[in-house]
Amino acid sequence: MSEDLKILDEVTNSEYKWGFVSNIESDNAPKGLNEDIVRFISTKKNEPEWLLEWRLKAFRHWKTMTEPKWPNVSYPEIDFQDIIYYSAPKKKVSLNSLDELDPEIKATFDKLGISLEEQKRLAGVAVDAVIDSVSVKTTFRETLAELGIIFSSFSEAVHEHPELIKKYLGSVVPYTDNFYAALNSAVFSDGSFCYIPKGVRCPMELSTYFRINSAGTGQFERTLIIADEGATVSYLEGCTAPMRDENQLHAAVVEIVSHSDANVKYSTVQNWYPGDKDGKGGIYNFVTKRGICLGDRAKISWTQVETGSAITWKYPSVILKGNYSSGEFYSVAVTNNMQQADTGTKMIHIGKNTKSIIVSKGISCGRSQNSYRGLVRIGKNADHARNFSQCDSLLIGDKCGAHTFPYLEVANKSARVEHEATTSKVGEDQIFYCNQRGISTEDAVNLIVNGYCKEVFNQLPMEFAVEAQKLLAISLEGSVG
């Protein structure tokens, strides 16, 4: 093995930096899943009857379903009766200031570099921080409320705005949609809710941090974002999770509704624990994310940077129902060590003159497998629909795999669909060129990979782009640096 390959090997075999456990007392449900557990969760959360009914319907439907086997990933059978479906930090207090926050929780955030007050002061970002299942702290809500913007935990929204939840919950991702969406609908713990009223431009980036924090706990987040006519919002979500030996299941659902002339930008940086370098432990991330452009000229844009999880199974999609509506998907997916990712998007063109853009950048290193799976469907009434897809794969080292599964279904002759795909390797000549200019191999790999991801990073909000680059660097170099 040449020296460069050796260094690459070291670099791509590095360990997860952010694995630590905080000792917050949990209020757990017993292991396993049945109607009683669903009721337990609903009771714990003090939910109205209609929501319990909805959960139960989802649960009954879930029991008739089987796990999907089509993704290009492999993992041992999940025992759904061996999972704890509810866990909440015990100390429930309403906080007047951040000083009242549980010091353990605060320390957890500090380790992650997510200091709430710093976020508050510096970035002007309203943060709804979620540890496990209960919303711990919501900031900036009052400022937002003045504009009529609702940004709260899902549970609070259930009580405060039941009419909105009733109207939109499951309207984009029905509980019948797929196995994991059904499971989530039955047992979802909490999440975020966001409503931007007509004509309002949200003045700040809305942001939520998630973190799995109780051993053996499944986490089932539910996010619902609604932009009413002419509204604009940019929503950020970032995750990190502590080190675990057991595999943890994460099956979230995100629904976005964009009405006429509304614009929703959803950005996420995902860094769940990927497992150790032999593939032990790590999060299974089986997520359903979908948005609908309900009205004319509506817009939804997904930007994701995926570096974590042992297994990722995620296809943020857009249903382009309104005429002239548009959907975007920008993605960087990094897999290292034994990680497996099967990720991509679906663009469903229904309205006339709808357009979509897909830019996917896959990076595989170590012994990982990275698949892009994307569907572009042009319905028969979608006159003059347009799609452009670009799917690039970058390989680092020679033991990893990159795969591309593009599906095109075009039922309208006036549609224009373009697909470009490339596969490249970080070349030894590129690394040597950087070395010769005084740049170390590690920095060279970083530089090259960052260059490769530039189109996607350019889509991220400024402060997030910096975080994404930091994360990318950690995924690539880890403790070697």
Binding site: S2, E3, D4, G427, E428, D429, Q430, F432, Y433, C434, N435, Q436, R437, G438, I439, S440, T441, D443, L447, I448, N450, G451, Y452, C453, K454, E455
Partner: protein, 252 residues
């Protein structure tokens, strides 16, 4: 500053350098000429530390250090610069960003503070003039979509930015038209100084009209078989290499 003694090197099991000797003192310009396959580019690659080349004998001392012990990046940081015969493209990485990383790495190794954006820009604007380079080039991805001439100019620009102690130009004149050759040569000449040395590898005497060397060496079968002044280059231009090959055969 550079002392090469009895250097032997091979690539993919093929012996290319067979006991090469060369002494380069501060401020000197040495031209290395020779027929195809004589080992000129191998010499450049070995000095820069390219992985595929295996050194199987001899010593190279650079500024008192054992050069062969150093990693490629440490050689660069110590002040050795190679202008590539085929500069490499790095998509998505702007020339400016690339150079800022490189310049600050080199500064760091010398215990200097990194340049801030303002000072870096100033330095860049100043050095760009040396090779008559357009400002837009700094925002373009490293060598991506550059013409042959632009790539070579970019190499000399990088050299100007990094201010090496020893610069090796590996056939920098190949693929250049007369105008580009003049620009590149002017850039090199502007960087000549009493503390900076050059090894200029070329096939053509023409380049040496612009970059006038102190010494000219002929490399043949992995050894320097003849050394002289600029006059030697002119003689080679006129007579070719056959007479040298014959001389070597007679002496052998």
């Amino acid at each position: 500053m550079l002392s090469i003694k009895n250097l032997q090197a091979s690539v993919e099991g093929r012996q290319i350098l067979n006991g090469l000797h060369l002494e380069v003192k501060p401020g000197e310009v040495h031209a290395i000429m020779g027929p195809n396959g004589s080992g000129k580019s191998t010499l450049a690659s070995v000095l820069a530390g390219r992985e595929e080349y295996e050194v199987n004998g001899g010593q190279v001392t650079f500024l008192g250090q054992d050069l062969l012990e150093l990693s490629p990046e440490d050689r660069a940081r110590a002040g050795l610069f190679l202008a590539f015969q085929y500069p490499v493209e790095i998509p998505g990485v702007s020339n400016a960003n690339f150079l800022k990383t490189a310049v600050n790495e080199v500064r760091k190794s010398r215990g200097l503070e990194p340049l801030d954006s303002k000072d870096f820009l100033k330095l860049m604007n100043e050095k760009m003039k040396l090779v008559e380079m357009d400002k837009s080039m700094t925002q373009r991805s490293v060598n991506e979509g550059f013409s042959g001439g632009e790539k070579k100019r970019n190499e000399i620009f990088q050299m100007a930015m990094l201010e090496p102690t020893l610069a090796i130009l590996d056939e920098t004149d190949s693929g250049l038209d007369i105008d580009a050759l003049r620009i590149v040569s002017n850039g090199v000449n502007a960087l000549r100084g009493k503390d900076r040395s050059f090894i200029v590898i070329t096939h053509y005497q023409r380049l040496l009209d612009y970059i006038v060397p102190d010494f000219v060496h002929v490399l043949y079968k992995g050894r320097i078989v003849k050394s002289g002044t600029k006059a030697l280059a002119l003689e080679l231009e006129e007579k070719g290499y056959d007479w040298i090959k014959e001389e070597v055969a007679v002496n052998a």
